[in-house]
């Protein structure tokens, strides 16, 4: 059987892996991200950061500190769009 509980769908990171990271001593979101790779896929954490925070809050009994740093871009953007930013029509 392949019943997996995906905490992070984009990078195929299971709830199991997050629990292993916790057992290995990684108790904050940033460390869990670095250990498991969760939150580094297509959605950049829109779905999974809060899911991970809830797991950590429950497991450790402590309020999570910071989320992983929300960095631009919010959605993937074609490099061509970024490259054309220097080529401006004044509005």
């Amino acid at each position: 059987m392949t019943a997996k509980a995906m905490l992070c769908r984009c990078e195929d990171v299971t709830l199991d892996e997050v629990m292993e990271a916790l057992e290995a001593g990684h108790q904050d979101i940033e460390s869990v991200k670095r250990y498991t790779g969760f939150g580094t896929g297509w959605c950049q954490g829109k779905q999974c950061v809060v899911a991970c925070a809830r797991v950590l809050a429950k497991a450790t009994g402590k309020a999570p500190q910071l989320p992983i740093t929300p960095r631009p871009p919010l959605h993937p953007v074609a490099l061509g769009v970024l490259a054309s930013l220097g080529d401006v029509e004044e509005g």
Binding site: M1, T2, A3, K4, A5, M6, L7, R9, C10, E11, D12, V13, T14, L15, D16, E17, E20, Y35, T36, G37, G41, W42, C43, G45, K46, Q47, V49, V50, A51, A53, R54, V55, A57, A63, P64, Q65, L66, P67, T69, P70, R71, P72, P73, L74, H75, P76, V77, A78, G80, V81, L82, A83, S84, L85, G86, D87, V88, E89, E90, G91
Partner: protein, 438 residues
């Protein structure tokens, strides 16, 4: 049974959705192509909804295990509906309006997302494959071989068919930028414009209304924008830094300089984390409701869980067609290729339902990312169980000139409360612009 299109006559007479679908009529019927097969679509509806209506639950495969993926959120928050469109890889089909002759192909799968023999990876590693640590243990040549193997097996789409050209970018200078044209964003932009500020309001969607657009019980009477507000729809803010915000408007980059920025980006829905929560046919209640608003019933046998606004609207619209368990939680979804059922729990009781769509109105998360990029401090809220930008009574954040409004800061409050909040935040931002202090 599979997802299908419904007609106004399939719904109780007088239901807001029946009126909405009757107004849509049968205009704009076009044909798109998916993995070589023709698919009937309505021009302008999200491509993912067209594919869903044609019974295509599985649109993609996950990067590592090649597990089947389907539309889950229908609002650009997940990986479920990524396809190659007209030779361009990694297109979010939920964010792409269907146009006549569009060619969609599955990617990262062999031969198609519907079959994909590469799923053996999933069977080989029944618990999980910790490639971050496994692949670096061996060192040297074996490590390099493993990396090559992983690179071929995993990942997203391949390069585009052709070298694309991109339009020139645009640069705008305004007093205030409001991101999000939902109820609070529109009220905020109106308050700013009526006070004489030059306001730009942007939203990824094709019109105003925010979450109200996706509510099948909504009367559609969204508050309108004051004519003095400059509005861009189909325009998503993707980055903000200092006083500049990058907006992508219909494929073109727009750099907006604004003295004040208001984020009214709302909340994100999720289904939660449970075994098989990622299989096609598991939807957020908002996604299912959104498809319904386009006349598409995303399943014939619907198990609906949760008691939020969208769950209630779905239940009110479809009545006995759905099995609604407002107080239940999902223990696990059943099914490997697509959802076949679910185990639910309420109180001390556990039971199993059969379904071809599992619709969950789960916990919300504030869409804090842009406010966070702008420098607003973001804190954990115990009450809402999510990260929220810190703000005072009038929406001012820890960062000068950066404000938040609506569901982003309050969670899902009612329409009138969101409108009042937007107007109050707008009034505060106006004082800021006039130099009347923070």
């Amino acid at each position: 049974m599979a997802p299908r299109r419904i007609l106004p006559t399939d719904l109780p007479p007088g239901s807001p959705l029946a009126r909405r679908l009757a107004a849509l009529g049968s205009s704009g019927r076009v044909t798109v192509e998916h993995d070589g097969a023709p698919v009937a679509a309505v021009e302008g509806e999200p491509l993912a909804v067209s594919l869903l209506a044609a019974g295509q639950l599985t649109l993609a495969r996950s990067v590592k295990y090649h597990r089947p993926r389907g539309a889950m959120c229908l609002r650009g928050d997940c990986d479920g509906c990524l396809v190659r469109v007209d030779g361009v890889p990694n297109v979010m089909s939920c964010q792409t309006p269907a146009r006549a002759g569009m060619v969609a192909q599955s990617q990262n799968a062999f031969p198609t997302a519907g079959i994909d023999v590469l799923r053996v990876t999933d069977w080989f590693f029944p618990k999980h494959l910790d490639h971050h640590h496994l692949l670096v243990k061996f060192g040297g040549a074996l490590n390099r071989t493993m990396q090559v193997f992983a690179r071929r097996m995993a990942g997203l789409g391949t390069l585009p068919d052709a070298i694309a050209t991109f339009p020139r970018s645009e640069s705008l200078d305004v007093d205030a930028l409001v991101v999000g044209a939902g109820t609070s964003g529109v009220a905020c932009a109106n308050a700013l414009a009526r006070g004489g500020a030059r306001v730009l309001l942007v939203d990824e969607r094709e019109g105003p209304g925010g979450m109200r657009r996706d509510d099948p019980m909504d009367d559609g009477a969204y508050p309108g924008c004051d004519p003095a507000v400059t509005v861009r729809y189909g325009a998503g803010a993707v980055a903000t830094y200092d006083d500049e915000t990058l907006v992508i408007h219909e494929g073109r980059g727009v750099t907006v300089r604004a003295r004040v920025r208001v984020f009214a980006t709302g909340a994100r829905e999720s289904v939660g984390v449970f075994p098989q929560s990622d299989v096609p046919g598991v939807f957020t209640a908002r996604a299912f409701a959104l498809a319904l608003c386009h006349g598409v019933l995303a399943g014939e046998r619907v198990a609906l869980v949760g008691d939020g606004l969208f769950a209630r609207s779905i239940a009110a619209t479809l009545g006995e067609r759905v099995t609604h368990s407002p107080g239940a939680a999902v223990v696990e979804a059943l099914g490997s290729r697509a959802v076949k059922g679910a185990t639910l729990r309420e109180g001390g009781r556990e039971w199993t339902v059969k379904c071809d769509a599992l619709v969950v109105d789960g916990e919300l998360g504030a869409a804090y990312e842009l406010a966070g990029q702008a420098g607003a401090s973001v804190l954990w809220s115990d009450g809402r169980q999510c990260f929220v930008p810190e703000s005072d009574a009038e929406g001012a954040t820890s960062r000068e000139g950066v404000y938040v409004a609506g569901s982003l800061r309050w969670g899902r409050i009612d329409h009138d409360a969101r409108a009042r909040d937007g107007a109050a935040v707008g009034a505060r931002a106006l004082r800021d612009l006039r130099g009347e202090g923070r």
